[in-house]
Amino acid sequence: MNTGRGLPLLEITGLAKTYGEGRGATRAIAELSFSVREGELVSVVGPSGCGKTTMLRCVAGLLVPSGGEVRLRGRPVVSPPPEMAFVFQDYSRSLMPWLSVRDNVELPLRHKRELSRRERRIRVEDAVSSVGLARHLDRYPWQLSGGMQQRVAIARALAYQPEILLMDEPFASVDAQARADLEDLVLQVQAAYGVTILFVTHDIDEAVYLSDRVVVLTRPPTTVQETVSVRLPRPRDQVSTKELPEFARLRAHVFRGIKRQMAAAPEPEAGTSGGRLPGELEARESAATGGQ
């Protein structure tokens, strides 16, 4: 329903990443191809250590791929493009502790010459309000909780008004309640700002709940195992959406896909996971009981 909304904004073609050279080389990513259309929210999930973050850093132009290419609106990405914003997993190290919330959010706008001081201020205040932190504009990141800090990082990305927002396991280090709130925040701001989002996560529920499509990766050397379209109605809701049989079906489908990957893992890895999924891969209990 939401798929096919627009033209491909981001095209990833034959992306490969190899670390090292010669015999000692490690093929992290073998070949990745998928695209993200305008206005879409696409999640990328995969088994632990499958190179999701590596892939995202290549897409952002922070890391040079060993092969293939990334195109944003048809132009190859070689360094971080100005139409792109990035939310890091480690919010505490991505925000500047010496700047207030306001100054943190404003920092990327300072060199946008086309903005007047007043426009800048409005943009900052709008973005900070949209993540619900209007009262905390003049506080410092370290005075805020983890979830609030990640909100600041999201506000910074929104104020930048990117065409595409990359998020690297943004909620992996916040507690469960904050996490649910932040997921809903992403849905809200995506609707409000109309931004395209590429979202990397290890949480299958989160991927299904947020996305228009879920890209499932294989274990390394990584390729795309399958792309799952999520046709859950919007607006979505933590309770009612996760109650839908379709949600349960989708999460089970993605879950099995990844589990198959893990089962097919070579001996040493299979030994460590003991036939169970590794700790990183978890479906949240609430959804498991709510769905079945």
């Binding site: 890091f88 190290r93 502790p97 010496w98 060199h111």
Partner: protein, 264 residues
């Protein structure tokens, strides 16, 4: 609660001790020195009178100002050069590695050992002293800046890259603030070295300044005056350090705040 309970008695006792202990010590010194009648330890009232006459009276700051000027110019030059050069070197792994042994070696040379060279090349004028002070302070500032800049969190650097921050913004808003705790620590070490070098250079080759006055008083056997000069240095060191702490408090407020919460 526990933290509060632990801290409040100390907080209450703090000012009392800070003021009380020096008063007690000075009183003891006063009492002992007025009675002892030793030539090399003149009575404290004599020292204080000399202090007033030599350092506070008519030719106000005649000996202090030249010293302060050398200190200020040399120190400022060292901090600027150290931070500038350190930022340049700190940004590249290769530069950092190749500079390290050289800087470590140069830092290892005891600063007074450079004095003969300085006098030879620059004579005994102010430029020599300023330069010597600057050279001494440079190393701690430089080393700490290299370290601080090199150690900036990669996530912070990537954040700056992703948002396309231009070089100047990147330096002034990201790299230097991130390195500032270390830079400030280096500047602090540099300050005490600067005072030492100022006194030494004035004792070896000068016609004015605090160091010169102390040595001159000693050589003409004006013992209270010599002591009053030492007192001036003590006061100066104390005041400069106080100023530094004040500045540091403003500059690194975020750092202390962030650290305090981390520990909590």
């Amino acid at each position: 609660m526990r933290a509060l309970g632990r801290r409040s008695p100390r907080r209450a006792a703090g000012p009392i001790l800070e003021v009380g202990v020096p008063i007690v010590l000075v009183t003891l010194w006063w009492a002992w020195s007025t009675r002892a009648g030793m030539i090399f330890f003149p009575p404290l009232p004599d020292i204080l009178r000399s202090f007033r006459e030599t350092w506070l009276a008519a030719p106000a700051g005649a000996e202090v100002l030249p010293s302060l000027e050398r200190l200020g110019v040399g120190y400022a030059a060292a901090v600027l050069a150290g931070v500038g050069l350190g930022t340049l070197l700190g940004c590249s792994e290769a530069a950092r590695r190749s500079a390290d042994p050289i800087v470590q070696f140069l830092r290892g040379i005891p600063p007074p050992a450079l004095l003969p060279f300085g006098i030879l090349v620059f004579g005994i004028g102010d430029p020599m002293k300023v330069l010597m002070i600057a050279v001494v302070c440079l190393w701690p500032v430089l080393l700490n800046t290299i370290d601080g800049v090199g150690g900036v969190d990669p996530t912070l650097r990537e954040t700056a890259r992703v948002y396309g921050l231009p070089l100047v913004t990147r330096l002034t808003r990201v790299i230097l603030p991130a390195a500032s705790p270390q830079i400030v620590a280096g500047a602090r070490t540099g300050l005490s070295l600067a005072i030492i070098m100022m006194v030494i250079s004035e004792m070896v080759a000068s016609t004015n300044g605090i160091g010169y006055s102390i040595l001159e008083a000693q050589q003409t056997f004006r013992i209270p005056e010599m002591w009053s000069g030492i007192l001036v240095l003590g006061v100066l060191g104390y005041l400069l350090n106080g100023l530094f702490v004040l500045l540091e408090g403003r500059l690194l407020r975020w750092h202390r705040g962030a650290r305090a919460l981390e520990g909590a």
